[in-house]
Every structure is written in C-alpha cells, then in structure tokens.
C-alpha cells in the first residue's frame, strides 16, 4: 500500500512534467502570417508603457484622453511598466513568448527592433501602413525600425544628446563655447585651475548601455565606428576608436572629470551639474528643463545648451546618438484595427505636439520639430534640428551582446583596470564572437 502510493505519486509528478512540457513546446499555435487589420477601429486596447517626460504631469494620460476624443469608439487602458529598460524587457519577453494578449501595444527601446524582430516578439507592420506614411520620419529613423525589409515599430519620440555648459563660468573666464573636445578639455582645466568650479566635465561612463551611447559618439567624432555597416564584423579595434578612448581616459586621469565618473549614469552626472560642481555636461534633452528648474537646481538660469563638440580637424558639430522610444504591437493582440489607429494617431501631428510641448521630448515627425511654436517651447529643440545624428549598431539582432562587449571593456579601461588598447582588442574579439553567434 505504501509502495503503491509512493510509486504512483512519482509517476504522477513525472507525467505532469511531461504533459506540461509538451504543452509548453507546442504552445499557442498562432499562424505565422500577419493577420489583416479588418473591421472598424473600436473596442478596448491596453497600452503597456513606462513613464516618460516630466514626473510631475503624466503625459501618457494626456495623450490617452486626446486620443479617445479623436476616436470615441476606442478606449485605451494604461498599464504601468517598469522604468528600467532591461527589467521592462524581461517581463515583455516572458509574457509575449508565453502568448499573453493582456496588452496590445507597448513602448519599447529604440535598440530593440532587430532583436525583437528576430525573436518574433513584435508584429511586422508593413501591411498596415502604406509607404507614404514612413515619409513622415527621417531615413535614419526608419532604418532603425527595420529588420530584413520589414518594419517592426513606429517611432514615438526620439532623444538627442547635447553639451550643456555654465554660461556664467564661461563669461567670468572670458572663454567661448568650445567646438572641439580638445578645446573643451583645456577650457575645463582653466576653469578648475582658477577655482571657479570643482570639475570640468561629466558624462555617463558607468558600465551600462549609456556608456555605449557616449562611446559611440566619441568614436564617431574621431572617425571610427564599432560594427561594420553590414553587421558582419567588429571595427572597434581601430586607430580612431583608440584616439577616442584615450581622450576619454585622459579626462579622468587629468582630473577634468571626477574619478567617480566611471560610476555615473544620467542621474549622477545631472546631479553633479545641478549642484554647480561641474562646468560641462554631456546629457540628453531632458537635462535642459531639469537643470533650469529653479526649486531644485542651483544653476537654474545659468545653463547654456549647444551641439556636442567634435575632435579637431573634423567638420561640423559632434555626433549625437539617437535615443528615444518606439511603439510596438504585440503579435497576440486581438484588436489590430484599433492598434493601428492608435499607432497612426500617436505619430500624428497632434500627439507629437503634445509629446514635444508637455513631454519635453523631441518629436519624430520632422514637420512638428520645425514648427516655430514647438521650437519656442524648448530651447534645446532648435539645437536638435542642427544635430549630426548617429545610431548605435542596433541593426544587428545580437545588439545586446555587442553593447555589453562595448560597455564592459570601455568601462574597465576608463577605471584604469586595463589599458585602452587591450580593452579595444578584448571588445573586438567579444563583438566578433557575438556577431558570429558563437559566444555566450
């Protein structure tokens, strides 16, 4: 009797496991062809979105009420997403691969299209928008949404990086706004020597995705890149990239940047600036409004913004990496007509204006960015229009591994653990391993 119960219990457990395994392997049998968005756009859809824009007013709710007024037949439910991009991605992947249809459209990082396309986690959108729709956005933007000929997202808003500087300090020292990195370093050193400010320059050099952004900018300014244009091999081990990395390391060793800069993400670099302890800052669009808020910033009113500098001998302003967020469609969504209407409206003039004016983010629709009223709302916008843009190599599906190879090694070099040359060699081999799909 005892033996029987034990054996049958074990059998039950095993068969349960096998059964569940079989179910999971052949889970939701969805068709691979993209279903047509037939029918009129009505019903309820759920928008899974993280917070963007200022934390004091929720621009998502403004957008939703404006959308529901324009489309009375559709109700939009907002579902809060984690603010950290990687945490957010982990829950997205688990749910979508598990067949969840509990959300219809979701915000996603701009570096996700290739990866999500390859993993089948986003719906290809070509069949729902005619080709003229994509003319609303710049070519570079559309390319960033495309993988193997299909587009997988619409651009919600974009983000650029700028050089923020202390107008008052430059005036006191009679220095012009720097246009090259070498000039910036010498001006910063002068300001420090004169005792006007504690540190000269701050950026985001922590071991995370933000460092990939910063390094991509410096490398592009020096004339280098990280991945070849066809995505087949690494180009990081080059003289140009070495020049960029040596310059970055030089900022730390010369004391222009605090040694703790290798632990800075946006928040720390911004806090250093708003506390008045650094003269120059490389940061995103939001930093302008943030550093000019009287109650919380000690440098409010003294902040200037301009395009990033480049290296001596190169033309034009320095490169700014493109950030921002896209809107994707869940492949398991049951209300495609409403989803498409939502996507179209969110990239329309009305929504983009709200995003620009209330959200403080750069709109993706060129005509909205050129609009004088929008430009007046944020002094960073006219500067953004003159930015030279560069994208991270997110067009490869293995971008996550490539980025880790970049930021792990660059951070090690900036902390002084390894020399810049060996960091680049190490990154080079790791990127190649990632592109060949032979690594971790």
């Amino acid at each position: 009797m005892r033996k029987l119960t034990r054996k049958s219990a074990a059998l039950a457990a095993c068969s349960a496991a096998v059964l569940a395994l079989a179910t999971a392997c052949s889970s939701s049998s969805g068709s691979t062809a993209a279903p047509a968005a037939t029918g009129s756009a009505t019903g309820t859809i759920t928008w899974f979105a993280n917070q963007f824009g200022p934390t004091t007013s929720d621009v998502r709710k403004t957008l939703i009420s404006a959308f529901e007024k324009a489309y009375p037949g559709i109700t939009v439910k907002l579902e809060q997403a984690p603010s950290d991009s990687d945490t957010y991605r982990s829950t997205l992947v688990t749910q979508i691969s598990g067949g969840s249809s509990s959300f219809d459209v979701y915000n996603g990082d701009v570096v996700w299209p290739a990866q999500f396309a390859k993993a089948g986690l986003a719906l290809p959108l070509n069949s729902y928008f005619d080709s003229s729709y994509w003319n609303n956005f710049s070519n570079g933007l559309v390319t960033s949404l495309t993988y193997k000929g299909q587009t997988y997202a619409v651009p919600l808003f974009t983000d650029n990086a700028f050089l923020f500087y202390r107008k008052d300090l430059l005036a006191k020292a009679h220095l012009p706004v720097p246009t090259t990195w070498e000039q910036l370093q010498s001006e910063a050193a002068t300001l420090q020597k004169d005792g006007l400010v504690k540190y000269g320059f701050a950026a985001q050099f922590d071991s995370y995705e933000g460092l990939t952004c910063d390094f991509t900018e410096f490398a592009a300014d020096a004339g280098g890149s990280t991945v070849s244009a066809d995505g087949s091999k690494s180009t990081i081990n080059s003289a140009a990239d070495l020049k960029a990395l040596t310059y970055m390391r030089g900022l730390v060793t010369s004391g222009v940047a605090p040694s703790a800069v290798t632990t800075f993400q946006e928040q720390q670099s911004e806090s250093l600036f708003t506390a008045g302890q650094v003269a120059f800052l490389r940061n995103w669009t939001y930093a302008y409004a943030d550093s000019n808020t009287a109650g919380t910033s000690k440098v409010a009113g003294n902040v200037g913004v301009t395009n990033l500098p480049t290296f001596a001998g190169q033309s034009g302003p320095g490169y700014s990496v493109t950030g921002g967020w896209n809107l994707y469609v869940n492949p398991h969504s049951k209300n495609l007509a409403a989803d498409v209407a939502f996507l179209k409206w969110m990239t329309g003039t009305q929504a983009q204006t709200i995003i620009a004016e209330q959200g403080g983010e750069i709109p993706t629709v060129a005509s909205v960015l050129q609009d004088s009223q929008v430009q007046a709302a944020n002094p960073a916008f006219p500067i953004a229009a003159k930015n030279k843009l560069n994208a991270r190599p997110s067009f490869v599906a293995q971008y996550a591994q490539v980025s880790q190879a970049i930021y792990n090694n660059i951070n090690a070099a900036l902390s002084g653990s390894v020399s810049p040359q060996s960091a680049l060699s190490s990154a080079d081999s790791q990127i190649n391993t990632a592109l060949a799909n032979t690594g971790l």
């Binding site: 999971a24 824009g53 598990g98 509990s102 928040q267 911004e270 506390a275 939001y286 910033s297």
Partner: protein, 274 residues
C-alpha cells in the same frame, strides 16, 4: 557581584554597538525619505528642509495603498499555508520512521537551489496553463512551493531536538496523531515555528522577479514591483522609494513587536524543559 555587573555592562555595550550598526543605514533611509527633490544630494545628518511630499507622492501618484494590500494578502496567506503544510511535513521527516528521508531532504534542497531567474519563464507558462496569472492564488502557490523547502528544513531540525518521550506520554494519554503534533510537540518548538514563519513572511513580502512576471496588472501588483515603477527613465527618485519602503517595513516591525511577548515566552519556555 562585580563580575556580573561587568558582564552585563559588556553585554549592553555590545548590544548598543550592534544596534548602531544596524540602525544607522536605516536612519539614513528614513531621514532621506523626508528630503525634497532639491535636498536629495545633501549629506547633512538631518534633512535641511524636511517634507512629507514623498509619502504623499508614493500613495497618490503611484497607488501604493493597493500594492500594500496585495502584498499583505499574499504574504499572510503564504505564511499560513507554508506553516500548516511545513509543520506536519517537518514533524514527519523528523520523528516518524519513513524510508527515504535523506533523499527527500536532499531533493528539497536541490529544488531550492535552482536559480529563480531560470525558473521564471517556465513558471509563467505553467500558471498561464492553469489560468492563474494576475491573481492572488497564482502568487501564493508559487511562493508556497518556493519557500516550503526552507521552512521544512528549519522545522524538521527543531523538531529533532525534542525528546522522543513526548510521543510516548501523548499516546498513553490517548491523543491521536494530529493532536499530538499540535498540542504536545508544537508548543515545544515555538522558536522554530516563529523563525520559519518570520522568514517566510519576509521572503513573500519582498520577492520581486516572480511577482513582476506573474502579476502584471496594476490591481494585483505587489510592493516590490510597485517600487520598480517609481521614477522615469533617467531619474531614480530616492526620496519616494525610501518613503514607500519605510511604510512597507512598518507591518513587519509591528508584527514582531506585537508578538514579541509570545516570542520571548516561547523562547524562554523552550529553555525550561524537563
């Protein structure tokens, strides 16, 4: 006499040192929860312009009240179920002549040590198939399975220390097996039960990754996940996070304080064994 006084003094000093080490970071957290946005970079021992705006923010902007309630429901239910199942299992594995006890204890350990991150995605599939996503019962079931091994280990070890004569006298008194466990053995092992209960409660209260994956809907969200929603892409609102955490810690502090008499008497009762 003098020796006893120095010993007490030594103990008290040691206790103060320990209390300081434990309390200082906590003080910093609570103090920082009263710092407004502008003061967050201040290192002053007392916040320069204390404000309760972070607390208001947590509850009004982020709906923290709901999260508190959800966490409470899940944690209390999980603890009760874990204790109910674990006490009997621990008793059986400690004192009844089953075959294969070592195998069971080792298997429980093995199940316990598999990294949770790898378990999350298949667990999601399992609960999806049962239909218990975005619910209390899904989370309770997952937590119970996750925390039972440890509870069983603790309880079994504590049950082992009780003299076997207990069962004999209970049997002579005519008590059935369940009553033996509940009325005779259990009171002797209260410290163990308390330990297992507290740890299960805290584990369920603070668990993050499973709660993030299984309960995505706002109305079933727990505290740990709720706090992850605070702030935007480039800002970690320390003030609000600390305020929310201070509030989240209160129930546990209150629980222990309320039950400390029972704990103390349970602990001292254990020492007076015949």
């Amino acid at each position: 006499m003098a020796r006893r006084r120095t010993r007490n003094l030594g103990t008290n000093i040691a206790a103060l040192v320990i209390a300081a080490f434990v309390a200082l970071p906590l003080y910093w957290m609570v103090a920082s929860s009263f710092k407004g946005q502008a003061d967050i970079t201040s290192s002053a021992a007392v916040p320069p312009h204390p404000t309760t705006s972070n607390y208001g923010n947590a509850f009004s902007n982020y709906g923290f009240g709901t999260y508190l309630m959800n966490s409470a429901v899940v944690a209390v239910t999980t603890t009760l179920i874990v204790l109910a199942l674990g006490i009997f299992a621990g008793y059986a594995l400690a004192r009844l002549p089953m075959r294969g006890k070592t195998a069971i204890m080792t298997s429980l350990l093995m199940i316990s040590l598999f990294p949770t991150i790898a378990v999350v995605a298949p667990l999601y599939l399992l609960l999806r198939d049962i239909g218990w996503l975005n619910s209390y019962q899904g989370l309770v079931l997952s937590y119970t399975a996750l925390m039972l091994p440890f509870a069983i280990w603790i309880l079994r070890n504590f049950f082992l220390t009780i003299p076997f004569a207990m069962e004999e006298s209970a049997r002579i008194d005519g008590a059935g097996p369940v009553r033996t466990v509940l009325s005779v053995i259990l009171p002797q092992a209260l410290p163990g039960v308390f330990t297992a209960g507290v740890f299960t409660f805290v584990a369920a209260w603070t668990e993050f990754i499973i709660a993030l994956t299984l309960n995505n809907e706002d109305r079933y969200r727990t505290i740990a996940v709720g706090i992850a929603l605070f702030g935007g892409q480039y800002t970690t609102p320390y003030g609000t996070i600390f305020a929310a955490s201070a509030v989240a810690m209160l129930p546990i502090a209150l629980l222990v304080l309320v039950f400390r008499r029972a704990v103390v008497s349970g602990l001292t009762a254990g020492a007076v064994k015949g």
